[in-house]
C-alpha cells in the first residue's frame, strides 16, 4: 500500500516538473539578468560598475560618449572652450523634464556640480572636477564653468555617470541615495537589492525611445545560471563578465552574443617600492619571461587582446613597439643575473577571488610562467573588500588587478603616474620623465603632439615596467533573437538600451 503511495508521489513530482511554464507578463517588459547588483543609488558617490550600469539608465550627464567614444550631446546640445581655455560654456537642451515633472534648467546643473564639489558629499569623482572655480547661469539654458587652469580632459570627464544632473529640489530637500529623480530614458519604480529592479519607460524622454514599456533587472548571482536562463528563454537580455561562460553562447543560434573590447585592462601590478622589485632588471625580467598571449589563451580561453598601457584605439601602440612583448626567457635570465638574482626569489601576488572571475586564473598562469626564471609566485587570494583595502594602503608586492580605463589617456593615468598623484603609493613607482609627460599631456590641445607625448609615455612605462600590462578583455551582452536595436558601447554603458525593442 505504501509502495503505491510513494509511486503516486513520484508521479506527482514528475508532473510538477513537466508543467513548468512561463507566465505572460504585463506590457512589453525587457527582462535583463546580471550577476551583481548596484551597491547604492546616489549617482554622485557610486563608483562600482554594477551601480553605474543601473544609474546610467535613470540619470543623464551633460555629454555622453557614443560607441566610438566620441562625445555626443545629452543634456547639453553644445559646448565651447574659451580661447584661453579658462571657461567652458554649455548650451542646455530645451524642454527636458525630470521624472517628477519639473523642468530641467541651468540651476539644476549648478546645484549638481556644487554637490559633487562639496566634500560632505564624499564623491570620489570630485578630483576630476577640481579645476572648476565657479559656475554661473546667464540664462535658464546656459551654464558657464569658470576654471582655475586650462583643463582639456574636463569635458570628457563630464561624460560620466558621476557627473549626472540631479534636480536642484531633490538636492535641497531630499537624500539622493533614496529619492531617484533623473531625466533619463527610464524611471526607477522599485529596487530590491540582490533580487530585482523595476524600471518603467520615461514617456517624456527627450530622445527617440524607449521602445519597451519597462525593464526588469534580475540578479542571478551565478553566471552559469544566467546562461541557463538565456537558453531557457526566461530572460531577454543579459550582462556577462566571465569569458568562460560567454564563449558557450558563440554557437547558440537563438541567442545573440555581443563582444565589446573594454578599456579596462588586466595588469600585474608590481610595487617598485618593495625589494627586490626595486631593481629595474627584475621588473624587466618578469616582463620578458611572460608569454602574454598564452595568458589570454589559458586564463580567458583566448577572449582578450594583449595590450600596452593605453587601451583606447586612438592612442594604443602596436605591441611590437613596446619593450619585451615577445616572450624571451634567455633575456629574462640574463636580466635576473644582472640583478644578482639568478637563483630567483619568492614573489607574493595578491588577487581578488571573484572579481574579475579570471583573476585567479591569470595569477596561476603567471606563476607557472615565472618558474622559468626561478621566481616562485605565491598567490594570495583575498575577498574583494580586503583586497581593495590592501590595494589602497599599498600593502602588497604584486597584485593581479583589473583596472578601469578611460577615454582620455591623461584621465586614465593621472591618479598613478604623477608626483602628487592620489594612488602614487599604490602605483609604487615614479620618475621625472613620467611626471613631465603627464603634465604636458594634460594641457596639450593638438592631437598629433598629444599622441607623440603618450606614445613616449607608453614606451617609457613598458621599459621601466612598474607594472606589467597583460591584456584587455571583452565585456559581453547577450540577448534573444527577438530583441533588436542594441549596440553595445565601448565604455560598457547601458545608456543606449533606450533604443532596444522586443518583438513578442
Amino acid at each position: 500500500m505504501l509502495q503505491k503511495k510513494i509511486f503516486k508521489l513520484v508521479l506527482f513530482l514528475l508532473l510538477l516538473i513537466m508543467s513548468t511554464s512561463i507566465l505572460a507578463q504585463d506590457g512589453n517588459i525587457l527582462v535583463v539578468a546580471r550577476a551583481v547588483d548596484a551597491t547604492g543609488l546616489d549617482p554622485h558617490t557610486q563608483t562600482t560598475f554594477a551601480s553605474l550600469r543601473l544609474l546610467e539608465l535613470i540619470y543623464e550627464p551633460l555629454v555622453v560618449t557614443d560607441s566610438d567614444l566620441n562625445l555626443q550631446p545629452a543634456l547639453a546640445t553644445g559646448w565651447e572652450f574659451s580661447d584661453d581655455g579658462m571657461t567652458l560654456t554649455f548650451t542646455l537642451r530645451e524642454g527636458v523634464k525630470f521624472h517628477d515633472g519639473s523642468d530641467f534648467t541651468a540651476e539644476d546643473v549648478i546645484a549638481s556640480f556644487t554637490r559633487i564639489l562639496d566634500e560632505e558629499t564624499a564623491s570620489a569623482a570630485r578630483t576630476n572636477y577640481l579645476s572648476i572655480d565657479s559656475m554661473e547661469a546667464p540664462d535658464d539654458l546656459t551654464v558657464v564653468f569658470n576654471l582655475n587652469t586650462p583643463d582639456v580632459p574636463l569635458l570628457s570627464a563630464m561624460a560620466s555617470t558621476n557627473a549626472v544632473v540631479l534636480s536642484a529640489d531633490v538636492i535641497a530637500s531630499e537624500d539622493p541615495s533614496l529619492v531617484t529623480v533623473g531625466t533619463g530614458p527610464f524611471k526607477l519604480e522599485s529596487w530590491t537589492p540582490d533580487e530585482n529592479t523595476m524600471l518603467s519607460a520615461n514617456t517624456d524622454w527627450w530622445g527617440d525611445g524607449p521602445f519597451v514599456d519597462g525593464i526588469e533587472i534580475r540578479i542571478i548571482p551565478d553566471e552559469a545560471s544566467i546562461l541557463a536562463a538565456l537558453r531557457a528563454g526566461t530572460v531577454d537580455f543579459a550582462l556577462l563578465n566571465d569569458p568562460l561562460v560567454a564563449t558557450l553562447l558563440v554557437d547558440d543560434s537563438d541567442v545573440v552574443l555581443h563582444r565589446t573590447p573594454t578599456l579596462s585592462y588586466n595588469v600585474l601590478q608590481l610595487r617598485a617600492a618593495v625589494e627586490p622589485l626595486d631593481k629595474l632588471e627584475v621588473r624587466q625580467a618578469i616582463s620578458c619571461a611572460l608569454n602574454r598571449q598564452e595568458i589570454v589563451d589559458s586564463a580567458a580561453l583566448g577572449e582578450g587582446r594583449v595590450t600596452g598601457p593605453l587601451t583606447m584605439a586612438s592612442y594604443a601602440l602596436p605591441t611590437d613597439e613596446l619593450f619585451c612583448y615577445e616572450q624571451d626567457i634567455d633575456r629574462a635570465n640574463e636580466l635576473m643575473a644582472e640583478a644578482g638574482l639568478e637563483d630567483g626569489f619568492t614573489l607574493e601576488v595578491m588577487v581578488a577571488n571573484s572579481e574579475p572571475p579570471v583573476a585567479t586564473s591569470i595569477a596561476q598562469v603567471v606563476a607557472s610562467q615565472l618558474e622559468a626564471i626561478n621566481i616562485t609566485v605565491e598567490i594570495v587570494p583575498l575577498d574583494i573588500s580586503t583586497y581593495v583595502d590592501r590595494w589602497l594602503n599599498a600593502d602588497f608586492a604584486g597584485a593581479v588587478a583589473l583596472n578601469g580605463g578611460r577615454i582620455d589617456p591623461y584621465t586614465m593615468y593621472s591618479r598613478y603616474w604623477q608626483y602628487d598623484a592620489r594612488f602614487q603609493d599604490t602605483a609604487g613607482y615614479i620618475d621625472d620623465t613620467l611626471d613631465d609627460l603627464m603634465q604636458r599631456g594634460q594641457v596639450e590641445t593638438d592631437f598629433e603632439t598629444r599622441f607623440e607625448i603618450f606614445r613616449e609615455l607608453q614606451v617609457h612605462l613598458t621599459e621601466t615596467n612598474p607594472w606589467i600590462w597583460l591584456y584587455a578583455g571583452f565585456s559581453y551582452t547577450a540577448h534573444q533573437s527577438n530583441v533588436s536595436g542594441w549596440e553595445p558601447a565601448a565604455n560598457d554603458s547601458l545608456y543606449y538600451m533606450s533604443s532596444i525593442s522586443v518583438e513578442r
Binding site: 568562460l244 580561453l301 577571488n353 606563476a367 607557472s368 594570495v380 575577498d383
Partner: protein
C-alpha cells in the same frame, strides 16, 4: 550544509555495568560486516591515493601546465583529462584528496581532543563550571556553521588553516556533548562509586573507568565526523573559502570548472565522484564500526 544535524550523538542507553573487553579481532569482525568492508576498502583506497598526492607522487606534477594540451578529454596520456591550463586532472584529484583529507583529519582530531576534554571535565565537575562551559558550547553550536566559516575566512583569509579552524569550531561542541552524556550517567554508576570509595583519584577514575566506556561512541563519532568534515571542506572550497588555487581541492575543482561543464564534463565528473565515494566510504565504515564495536547500537 545541513549535515551537522545528523550528528545527533548516539549515546548508549544504559551503561551501568562494566562492559566486557573488546575482542582483539575486531578487524576481522569488521570485515565480516558487508558495509564495513566496502567502507574500509573505499577509505583505504582514497587514503592511499591521497598519501601519494600529499607527497606529490603523481603522474604529472600537480601544478604543471601543458598549454598545448588544454582541455583534453580523458586519454592514455591524461587518464582523467586536462583543465583549461592543461593540468592533469588525475594528478589534481590525488592532490585534492590529500588536501581534503588533511583538513578533515586535523580538524576532527583537534575538535575530538578539545571537545572530549571539555565534555568530560564539564560533566565530571558539574555545577557552575559545567553550566558555563556547556553554555559556551551551545553558543558555538547554535551558530550556523557556514556563516561561522564565512566569518572566520573573511577575517583571517582563505586557506588550509582557516578551513581547519572553521571546521574545528563547528565540531568541538558536538564532541563536547557526545563526551559529556556518558560521563553524567557513569559518574554515579556503581563501579565508579565503588572505585571512588576505594580512594581512587579523579583522573584515574576518568582514565580507567569513564573514558574506556565512551571509546566506542567516540570512534564511531570520529568516523562519521570525518565524512561530514570532508563535505564541509568541499563546500567551503566550492564557495571559494577553502583551499585556494593553484592548489587543488575537489570542491574548488567543481566550482572553478562549472562554467566548462559543457565542453569538458570530465572536469566536473571526476571530482564529483571522488567526493561522493570518499564520503560514502567513511559513512559505511562508520556504520560498520558501530555494528561491530557497539552492541547497544547495533542496527542489524
Amino acid at each position: 550544509m545541513t549535515t551537522k544535524s545528523s550528528n545527533m550523538p548516539h549515546l548508549p542507553k544504559t551503561l551501568d555495568t562494566e562492559p566486557e573487553r573488546q575482542a582483539p579481532s575486531f578487524v576481522i569482525r569488521l570485515l565480516r560486516d558487508r558495509s564495513g568492508t566496502v567502507g574500509l576498502i573505499l577509505v583505504v583506497f582514497f587514503t592511499i591515493i591521497s598519501l601519494l598526492g600529499l607527497f606529490e607522487i603523481t603522474r604529472y606534477p600537480v601544478l604543471e601546465q601543458h598549454p598545448i594540451d588544454r582541455l583534453q578529454a580523458p586519454s592514455l596520456d591524461y587518464w582523467f583529462g586536462t583543465d583549461q591550463f592543461g593540468r592533469d586532472t588525475f594528478s589534481r584529484i590525488m592532490k585534492g584528496g590529500a588536501n581534503s583529507l588533511q583538513v578533515s583529519v586535523i580538524s576532527v582530531s583537534v575538535s575530538t581532543l578539545i571537545g572530549t576534554v571539555i565534555g568530560i571535565f564539564a560533566g565530571y565537575v558539574g555545577g557552575i563550571v559545567d553550566t558555563i562551559l556547556m553554555r559556551i558550547m551551545d553558543i558555538l553550536f547554535a551558530f550556523p556553521s557556514l556563516l561561522l566559516a564565512l566569518l572566520v575566512v573573511t577575517i583571517i583569509g582563505a586557506g588550509l588553516s582557516s578551513t581547519v579552524l572553521a571546521i574545528t569550531v563547528v565540531y568541538t561542541p558536538i564532541f563536547a556533548r557526545v563526551a559529556r552524556g556518558p560521563v553524567l550517567s557513569l559518574k554515579n554508576a556503581e563501579f565508579v562509586t565503588a572505585a571512588r570509595c576505594l580512594g581512587a583519584k579523579d583522573w584515574r577514575i576518568i582514565a580507567h573507568h569513564i573514558f574506556p566506556n565512551m571509546r566506542t561512541v567516540l570512534i564511531v563519532q570520529v568516523t562519521l565526523a570525518l565524512s561530514w568534515a570532508l563535505i564541509t571542506e568541499a563546500g567551503l572550497s566550492f564557495l571559494g573559502l577553502g583551499t585556494q588555487p593553484p592548489d587543488a581541492s575537489w570542491g574548488l575543482m567543481l566550482s572553478a570548472n562549472r562554467g566548462l561543464a559543457e565542453i569538458a564534463p570530465w572536469l566536473i565528473l571526476f571530482p564529483a565522484l571522488s567526493i561522493m565515494l570518499m564520503v560514502l566510504g567513511f559513512n559505511l565504515l562508520g556504520d560498520g564500526l558501530r555494528d561491530v564495536l557497539d552492541p547497544y547500537l547495533k542496527s542489524e
